[in-house]
Amino acid sequence: MDNRYRPVIGLEIHVQLNTKTKAFCDCSAEVFDLEPNSSICPVCTGQPGALPVPSHEMFELGIKIASALNCHINLYSRFDRKNYFYPDLPKGYQITQFFHPLSERGWLEVDGKKIRITRIHLEEDAGKLLHSGDNITKSDYSLVDMNRCGVPLAEIVTEPDIESPEQARIFMEKLRTILRYIGVSTGDMEKGAMRCDANISVVDTITGKQSNKVEVKNMNSFKFVEKALEYEFDRIVQLMENGQEVERETRGWNLTTKSTVSMRSKEESHDYRYFPEPDIPPVVLDSEYVEKIKNSLPELPDDRLRRFVNDYKLSEKDAWTLVEDKKIADFFEEVVKQTKEPKETANWFLTELFRMISEHGEDKIHINPTHFVELFQLMRDGKISRNMAKDIFQESALSGKMPSEIVKEKGLEQVDDTKLIEDIAKKVIEAHPKEVEGFKNGKEGLFGFFVGQVMKETKGKANPKTVNEILNKFLRGV
């Protein structure tokens, strides 16, 4: 069944731009968790007589996104009004770009496939309603928080090129990585800084029939994007199998029931009466200005991935794990610059460092490149074992102390004194005559037992290499 039906998915993503000011006024755009209605002014609350003035920074960030997503940037763009009534929309219209968007025709590669971007345009966010009850219909009253009114958004619309719910999630995750790389948004879906609506239809590959399109909303995490689309795909396939009509409608992901619920049918959809915003003249960008912004972009994740694979000889999977978070990737390169050991450094990052971050949280980690350099040096010099190194790393990371300092403090330095180890080895052999006999009769496995006993006596500080050499001499006579 799974092979017979194929989902066709397109996404519409709203990205909150982290500009200093709102899109059309001077209010601060950092409004998450603020006291309600504390970042508002006559413009963003739609007072009579107030006028919108577009922010330059919003265009700068918009151009960055468009460039990173390989889009064509329109030097001439214009704002339009999208008209509808809702209490969180103070002007009764949203200022958006409908007829002449900032940019068009781009792509983002996911799993080796280019997902085409239809358009990216700029618009303003709406406010938030706080209902006295569970939802608007069950409430005695609702309050309006207008802090978010006018926060700039970039809306990214893809072509229906996405072939699976999983691919939709990966697309979103990759997009977030890019947004963070170019520093235009936190990309936090949980905080609403990135929001995703999806259009899904299903093709029956045998009959060639394609179902009607369903719009899915309210998917406020990467996981839910995948889950909701999986649910919706199954639901549509079920309908098709039963020969039922798939209704053109908008459905919302319900977190508690883990299902999608109909919100409105297409017949009920609004006529938004789009028309050019007469309060804002068309924006004509200077091509040099656009070039300047394009050139200011940092290395993008895909380019970095390629470089990590080629220069550091890392597997694609490992490389992406490092690249995905720009801060980690930057730090990794800083460390490699000093250790000159990319593979070994990557190993420590992928195992120890990531484990520490997930256990303690990023801000508790105080490690710097010289820690790595010292740690590697101590291992190379045979002063500490790999196992010891892990403990030392952990302590360095949490306290910021240098590995050599920790070694000294705790007397962890490897015992490499041949005379001392010989004495201990002798004692161990004397104390275990049965095992010596067993070994001499061919129980080779007992060699490890003697090594273990010596290590135990030295509290694990003996250099394993030296222990091996001495035991070989005593037991095998070599």
Partner: protein, 469 residues
């Protein structure tokens, strides 16, 4: 020395004894150099108290105004701390939280806001009859309308209640009431005066301008209120001295008189005044030609698509959620419908309905998009005329002030804007200056110039005004 100084002071205080009659005819130019500004405010408040019972130019009067030059502000512009009603029930109780840019500029220049003047609700109308506060009466004949929508401002200046006033002009709302009331009304080039703090009717057409007793006063006011404003991105950065040509000789100008001035619907008396005006221009040595500007016949239809389209969305914010009237109901939709149903008057509703229709997806191309094209065509045609002529002359209004309540057909009413609308569609400067009377009612002549020729339009109008005195 000592005696002299006493004598001087007595002299001055005598000069400062301003009578109400003297105040009524006082120009802004004189008021600006008049030292005892408190006397100006006192006279203004006194006259308003006496006369406005009949004229009803004001919606609200400031009981304790600042000292300064008394000016009337049309009640669709924000004066901080004062109610802005737009003559609508829907804004009842709304106190403006900020000054309009023009108001702020006037404040800085020592003006006193003695009151907010009446208008057609949200500036939609040409008679000030469509006001929730009742009609303003024409000071020349109290049975007749003052024109509109800035009828309150025009009547307040004409009656001498204030020295000057501000109006807003979307399709003639400054010039037509100025014409009906026998005063000067000037609509600047679009973009010269900030609209920040002006409650929008049709954003691409709206422009604030002065209503004054003399052309020079309009130029003086323009120098104060005009200029690029960071709060209004449709303003342009253009340094203009609006008084540059005031008092100057205007040598032989090329003047086009639109043949439409003698067309259907223009009252005979008005036609006669236009003929007299032509003769006058010729006598002053100007070159006058009759020019058929045929495209003007589309102007009214174009305007009554574009203006209601913009208005229908500009007025969406009046939803009962944030300010003004709220009629509560069980459902959100019901509350919207009742608030707007009770808050807006018939003419406003009519225009919201028209605009909602012309912007709807199914009719956008046929109406709004088409109207935008015709708008450009009209603008292009006017530009063509201005390649050959310095100014275009028409009557400001095809008719003189009519009796209150005598016009009920909206189409007849809309046609009155035929001569004023083109300047808004093309964003051009245009002035209405009084030119005598017909049956004791003032007639205004409109002088229109190319974009940014504001100083020349004012200068030319001033040169004619001076000859008439």
């Amino acid at each position: 020395m000592w005696y002299n100084s006493i004598a001087k002071r007595e002299e001055v205080s005598e000069l400062e004894m301003l009578t109400n009659e003297a105040f009524k005819t006082m120009t802004l130019k004189d008021a600006m150099t008049y030292e005892d500004k408190s006397a100006l405010v006192e006279r203004s408040v006194e006259i308003i108290a006496k006369e406005d019972k009949n004229i009803r130019a004001f919606i609200s009067v400031n009981k304790s105004p600042n000292i300064g030059i008394p000016i009337g502000i049309k009640d669709n512009m924000n004066v901080k701390g004062v109610e802005t009603t737009c003559a609508s029930k829907i804004l009842k109780g709304y106190v403006a939280p900020f000054d309009a840019t023009v108001v702020q500029k006037l404040r800085e220049n020592g003006f006193s806001f003695v009151g907010k003047t009446n208008l057609d609700e949200f500036a939609m109308g040409a008679s000030t009859e469509y006001s929730a506060y009742g009609p303003t009466r024409n000071p020349h004949d109290l049975e007749r309308v003052a024109g509109g929508s800035s009828g309150g401002s025009a009547a307040a200046v004409a009656s001498g209640e204030v020295i000057a006033a501000l109006g807003s002009d979307t399709g003639g709302s400054i010039r037509q009431p100025a014409s009906f009331c026998g005063v000067v009304g000037f609509k600047p080039t679009y973009g010269l005066v900030s609209r920040y703090g002006l409650v929008a009717f049709a954003s691409s057409l709206d422009q604030i301008g002065p209503i004054t007793k003399t052309v020079e006063d309009s130029a003086i006011l323009m120098n104060i209120i005009a200029g690029k404003d960071e709060m209004d991105s449709t303003t342009v950065d253009r340094k203009i001295d609006f008084t540059e040509f005031i008092g100057k000789q205007f040598p032989k100008m090329k003047v086009a008189v639109a043949t439409q001035s003698f067309g259907e619907g223009v009252e005979d008396g008005v036609k006669q005044k236009v003929r007299e005006f032509i003769t006058l221009l010729e006598n002053f040595g100007h070159e006058v030609a009759m020019v058929d500007i045929d495209d003007l016949k589309y102007a009214v239809a174009t305007y009554y698509i574009i203006a209601p389209s913009e208005a229908s969305t500009n007025l969406s914010r009046f939803d009962g959620v944030k300010y003004g009237l709220r009629v509560s109901s069980d459902s959100l939709r019901d509350s919207y419908e009742k608030t707007r149903g009770e808050g807006f008057g018939d003419e406003v509703k009519r225009r919201i309905l028209i605009g909602t229709f012309t912007l709807s997806a199914a009719y956008y191309d046929a109406y709004f998009e088409k109207a935008q094209k015709v708008r450009r065509k009209i603008a292009n045609r006017l530009s063509e005329v201005f390649e050959k002529y310095d100014f275009i002359i028409t009557p400001t209004s095809p008719i003189v002030a009519f009796k209150i309540g005598s016009v009920s057909d909206p189409l007849v009413y809309y046609m009155m804007d035929i001569f004023t609308i083109p300047a808004n569609l093309a964003g051009l400067p245009a002035i209405s200056i009084p030119f005598g009377k017909v049956d004791n009612l003032p007639v205004g002549i409109q002088i229109m110039g190319p974009r940014f020729s504001d100083a020349k339009v004012l200068g030319f109008a001033d040169s004619i005004e001076r000859q008439l005195r």
